[in-house]
Amino acid sequence: VSDLSEHPTTDLDDVVHQRHRLGILTIAAETKRVEFGYLREALSLTAGNLSRHITVLEGAGLVDVQKGYDGKRPKTWVRINDKGRAALAKEMAALRTLVSRQDSQTDPD
């Protein structure tokens, strides 16, 4: 019986693992900062849903949110911080481990 504490799923973080929040972190990690409208369109989310996900990530200390104006239009920018980058890297590593484990279990050899 394998030790459950060593199973790769234990490395998955509930805050980060949610697919849309993982998407927000993935996009933000490619940029210095990303605008709310871009995230909404890229992830096909409603403004309300996206706002809730960003609030969760901000509450966990993984992203910083900056509100400002572009002319008269309000703009919200999301910036991933060091903790967010570390959490994203850990999550991606855990996912890769899970995939390689699944691959090795389905391998007929």
């Binding site: 993982l22 490619e30 940029t31 210095k32 990303v34 871009y38 996912l95 995939v99």
Partner: protein
């Protein structure tokens, strides 16, 4: 999007690629630098005087700091046969400064338009770093370059400077963490040897006085790194090679040649200029095609 690990990883890969694609805007910086490089021959044409070598007019303006003589624009004009090395030097300085600032403005404007802001600090660091090396460090170390055993032109200079550079780095690394006074002196000696050797390598790499191309090459390598773009990286590497060729080889040997120095300059700058202009146009077309494909979908 799925929550299955493999599907999730694939989705994140797609998002990453899409974000990078949307953020790409390197076509404009390539044109911003490429067009003035091709147009530089006109400036050389306007400043060309009689074909007289070794006259004081060929020496770019210098600052006298005690016993040191510093020619900030030496790599941008010192080997050009022209009546006005200052005008040529200022032209290249202007191309670098205006091109760099315009590029920063372009990415700032794109960030507000598209919603994705890149870390332009990386690009600025490469551009400013290379500019400081060419305008401050090398003109300063040139005071000693000619008096050290590894100085001079040709293969001995290249091999000697390369070896001295490695030795200097080695000495500096060896003593970098030791606090003894002799070790500190050793560290300082290593740094000085490294800087003088590196300075001589940069001088040797800009023999034709097109040192500005090397600064632009460094800036474009930083741009490619900032954009995480293999295509931009390919253009930057090709441009670096073309810049070294323009500085080290007489391209008029291969291309149509007249005694007109503006024409000779054009021959030498044609390849690096074309690399950027063609690269910029290709990137612009690819950008437009990707955008129209997205609208159709």
């Amino acid at each position: 999007m799925s929550t299955e690990p493999a599907a999730l990883l694939a989705d994140m890969g797609t998002l990453r690629r899409r974000t990078r694609r949307d953020a790409h805007g390197y076509w404009l910086p390539l044109l911003l630098f490429g067009v003035p490089i091709l147009a530089a021959a006109l400036v050389y044409g306007c400043t060309v005087g009689p074909l007289v070598l070794d006259t004081p007019t060929l020496v770019p303006p210098a600052l006298h700091l005690g016993s040191l003589v510093v020619q900030p624009l030496m790599l941008f004009s010192s080997f050009s046969i022209t009546d006005s090395p200052l005008a040529i030097g200022l032209y290249w300085l202007g191309v670098i400064v205006v091109g760099t600032l315009a590029t920063l403005g372009w990415y700032r404007w794109r960030a507000h338009r598209i919603g994705v802001q890149l870390r332009t600090g990386t690009y600025l660091l490469y551009a400013l770093g290379a500019l400081v090396v060419c305008v401050v460090l090398v003109p300063l170390t040139a005071n000693w370059t000619l008096f050290v055993p590894f100085g001079g032109f040709g293969a001995p200079g290249v091999w000697g400077s390369s070896a001295a550079f490695l030795v200097g780095v080695g000495i500096a690394l060896l003593f970098r963490r030791t606090r003894h006074v002799w070790a500190r002196l050793g560290f300082a000696l290593g740094v000085v040897i490294t800087m003088v050797a590196f300075g001589n390598l940069v001088i040797l790499s800009s023999t034709h006085g097109f040192g500005a191309l090397l600064v632009i090459a460094a800036a474009l390598l930083g741009l490619a790194w900032m954009e995480r773009s293999p295509r931009c990286g390919t253009v930057a590497v090709l441009f670096t090679g073309a810049s070294l060729l323009a500085n080290l080889y007489d391209m008029e040997n291969l291309l149509p040649y007249t005694n007109n120095l503006a024409w000779v300059t054009f021959d030498n700058l044609l390849l690096p200029g074309l690399v950027l202009v063609v690269g910029g146009i290709v990137a612009l077309v690819a950008d437009r095609r990707a955008a129209s494909r997205e609208i159709r979908q």
